[in-house]
């Protein structure tokens, strides 16, 4: 059986969650590999959530928020950007940085949401399964 990655996705309530809704309403088909958690703002996503997910065996973590300038809370997404970039740097040391991605998707970008998911799923497929899983199974 081919590798089907598990991807955890965070959506902000105002833009990207609505964008994901629009992808649904528009019936834009995309891979069934993602599971969405809704937060009010991408600025709410803590690095701990990302690490926890990767440690639990998620193959990828996708954070989505409003485009810069469009944040419902003025600049929560800018804080998210700083945090995610820092987390990425830390993950780079473990070779996990490509498993984390930050994307901006507006409420009107249903097609873009589907594209982002498709693209990230493909990338994670190329990377292969999260090595943590193998370690844990062998334990």
């Amino acid at each position: 059986m081919s590798f089907e990655p598990n991807i955890l996705t965070f959506c902000c309530n105002w833009c990207s969650y609505a964008g994901a809704d629009l992808a649904g309403v528009s019936r834009f088909q995309y891979p069934a590999n993602i599971r969405i958690i809704r937060v009010m703002c991408s600025g709410r996503v803590e690095p701990a959530f990302i690490l926890e997910a990767l440690n639990d065996g998620a193959d990828g973590v996708l954070i989505t928020g409003c485009h810069i300038g469009d944040c419902h809370y003025i600049d929560g997404n800018k804080n998210a950007e700083i945090r995610i970039n820092n987390t990425k740097k830390a993950l780079a040391k473990l070779g996990f940085d490509k498993r984390l991605r930050l994307e901006w998707v507006s409420a009107s970008e249903g097609a873009r949401f589907a594209e982002v998911v498709k693209d990230f799923t493909e990338e994670i497929k190329k990377l292969g399964p999260n090595p943590v899983k193998e370690v844990k199974i062998n334990e």
Binding site: G43, R44, E52, I137
Partner: protein, 675 residues
């Protein structure tokens, strides 16, 4: 909503006053919706319910055809009673549309509404995995499991009520904004009507006649403009712009900039003596650049307020106007002035502009004199226009006989805008009719992709044009050239109905340019934190059920700023906004979400990392205790500070760390598989 300066308003917590004790064992009920075949046709809902029923804490599961229906909700309520449920998980569509429905359903049963967990298995599952039924079913199981685990950790919250100032701000005084202002004012509310141009009236003031009845535009708009000016509850702020907005529903603080007219409006009588003596002539923007106006001018004869304005950029400082002004109104040193408003609601009716074909030289526009836009044609038709209502062509001021019209310029075109602007077919039909009636010897050809005449009397108007002899040719010009001698426009076009190439020659060609957002829309969007749709215009809260609401409570949208519309539609929206806004203005209160950040003072070390994170200045230091403190009335509940808190002292209610981690840790069944 930039900085928030001391707009603290007491929030009174009155709704759901009793917060239930929550020490009981968690008894979860899970309700899986089939949404007809929307979910049920893809996801095996029974399999989902069966699986979820095996999870600890789940006391009952139920599958409904339509959970949101009366019987679906009755089922929830009955099971709450039967099983003494204290948590409810609804797996259905989007919480963005249906969460309020089910929250109310819980409240009715005496359960705190925040004990509802809403799982989206339609928009985020069945609709996007239509051909992967097994995968969709597995995904739905995961999503519902995450919801169940989160639900067990949900805590009761109370919503707050905020007082609403019973004053309104309407941004943009086109026909939609004017209607909103009038309706609100007639209901007795104070309205501030802000317009960036020197006169109210908007686009409609520039039209000659309006379809499908072909009545004179300014003749029906003019009296309305006067009505607005006379209404004692409306304060017109013309030649003014919104510069800053902060606050929230019920209590917006708005800074308005009044651009200098360089004359005292209290003294100016609008007599236009100043214009008569002004030696400077510049292209007249009101006439779409045809003809000229002076550097000091009244924007058009029916302007409201009827006051002059000095265009300082083109003024040569000769001071002739000051000498001519009998009332001594001219003041060359005028500076912008500012007004701070405090309003409860805001109506956004900022309008549109038409697509500019110059940028791509569509159909030779900007290259050939005798290719003009429909708005320019409109001004040529107008009796108060640059030619006194005689349609002449720009190259030689001769009256054209053969007129070609091209539809969908800047609309329905992948290279510009893919959407249909909705009104241009009718504009073209009307324009051809008007000229044909004035000068029956003229010959008109409308080149179109499709003719769209959806509303009352539109099709009849189309038929009327045909009966008058206007020709309709389905096809878009593929080649447009100018005859160097006659300046006539030569067009090669495929008649797609006849299946043949036609070579046509016109004296004048008119482009029906589409509707596009104007530059100011970005500023308003960012000031108010509104969403923009793919077409660049502003986005409503829900395309069907909340067409004039926005995602910002207390902010409403009217007119073309939220999508192409004709005049009756824009006017209806103006009234609709007034009606929606009046609910808040009359009740004098609004309910706001209970989701805010909360500090645990036992854990807070007073490091102040959170303070600069908050864009609303809602976190203050309690200097005495040395701890951070969240001002609830200012907190909008984004949770950005929570993510920054190094000690975990800050929590976001309803999105607490343990609640979100419950979802994270239950997202994939890796551990089960591994074990």
């Amino acid at each position: 909503m930039s900085d928030n300066k001391g707009t603290e308003t007491e929030r009174t917590e009155t709704k759901g006053t009793e917060v239930q004790k929550d020490n009981d064992e968690k008894r979860v009920g899970v309700f899986v919706c089939e949404c007809g075949v929307n979910i049920g046709g893809v996801v095996n809902t029974k399999a989902v319910a069966d699986y979820i029923g095996t999870l600890p804490g789940v006391k009952v599961t139920s599958v409904n055809k339509f959970t949101c229906s009366d019987s679906g909700q009755a089922d929830i309520q009955q099971k709450i009673k039967e099983h003494n449920l204290n948590r409810v998980v609804v797996a259905a569509c989007s919480p963005k549309t249906h969460e309020p429905t089910f929250r109310a359903c819980l409240e009715q049963m005496g359960l705190n509404q925040y004990f509802l967990e809403f799982v989206n298995i339609r928009d985020h599952c069945s609709w996007i995995h239509m051909w992967e039924k097994e995968k969709a079913t597995e995904k739905a199981k995961d999503l519902v499991r995450m919801g169940v685990e989160r639900s067990k950790l949900l805590e009761p919250l109370v919503q707050s009520e905020v007082p609403v100032i019973d004053k309104a701000l309407v941004i943009g005084a086109g026909v939609a904004g004017m209607q909103s202002a009038l309706d609100l004012a007639d209901m007795g509310f104070q309205v501030y009507l802000v317009e960036k141009e020197p006169s109210i009236g908007g686009r409609m003031a520039r039209f000659d006649k309006v379809f499908p009845t072909n009545d004179c535009s300014i003749c029906i708009l003019g009296p309305k403009m006067v009505e607005v000016a006379r209404n004692k509850n409306i304060k017109i702020m013309s030649y003014s712009e919104v510069k800053a907005v902060d606050g929230y529903v019920g209590n917006f603080n708005v800074k308005i900039e009044h651009k200098p007219r360089y004359l005292d409006v209290a003294k100016c009588t609008g007599c236009a003596k100043c214009s008569e003596v002004c030696p400077v002539e510049v292209p007249y923007d009101f006439n779409e650049g045809f003809g000229t106006r002076k550097a000091i001018y009244v924007s058009f004869p029916q302007a409201v307020p009827l006051r002059a304005v000095l265009d300082k950029e083109n003024c040569i400082n000769c001071k002739a106007c000051a000498k001519a002004c009998a009332s001594g109104a001219i003041n060359y040193d005028m500076q912008p002035s500012y007004t701070d408003l405090n309003v409860g609601i805001i109506v956004v009716s900022v309008g549109f502009k038409t697509y500019d074909p110059e940028q791509r030289h569509d159909f030779g526009y900007g290259l050939y004199d005798n290719v003009i836009t429909a708005m320019e044609f409109e001004r040529l038709l107008n009796a108060a226009g640059p030619t006194g209502g005689h349609v002449v062509r720009p190259s030689d001021c001769k009256e054209p006989v053969r007129v070609g019209f091209v539809n969908c310029v800047g609309s329905r075109d992948k290279a510009t805008n893919i959407y249909c602007s909705g009104v241009c077919c009718m504009v073209t039909i009307k324009n051809a009719q008007l000229l044909k009636e004035k000068r029956p010897e003229t010959d008109h050809t409308i080149m179109y992709i499709d003719i769209r005449t959806p509303f009352r009397a539109y099709e009849e108007s189309y038929n009327r044009s045909r009966n008058l002899g206007v020709k309709f040719l389905r096809g878009r010009p593929v080649e447009v050239k100018e005859d160097p001698v006659t300046k006539n426009i030569k067009v090669r076009v495929e008649d797609t109905l006849a299946g043949e190439i036609r070579n046509l020659e016109f004296d004048l060609m008119v482009l029906a340019t589409g509707i596009v957002p104007h530059e100011g829309i970005n500023q308003i969007q960012q000031l108010l934190k509104l969403s923009k749709a793919a077409d660049g215009l502003l986005m409503e809260a829900h395309p069907k059920l909340k067409p004039v609401d926005t995602t910002i409570d207390g902010v409403y949208l009217a007119g073309v700023a939220s999508g192409p519309k004709d005049i009756p539609y824009a006017v209806s929206q103006g009234s609709a906004c007034a009606g929606r806004a009046a609910i808040l203005l009359k009740n004098r209160k609004a309910v706001t979400e209970g989701i805010t950040a909360v500090v645990n003072p036992d854990v807070c070390v007073g490091c102040q990392v959170c303070i600069p994170m908050c864009p609303f200045q809602a976190i203050k230091m309690d200097e005495k205790e040395g701890k951070a403190n969240v001002v609830k009335a200012l907190c909008k509940g984004c949770g950005t500070c929570v993510a920054a808190c190094p000690t975990g002292a800050l929590e976001q209610s309803h999105f607490k760390n343990n609640q979100l981690l419950a979802q994270v840790k239950n997202v994939f069944r890796f551990q089960e598989v591994a074990a």
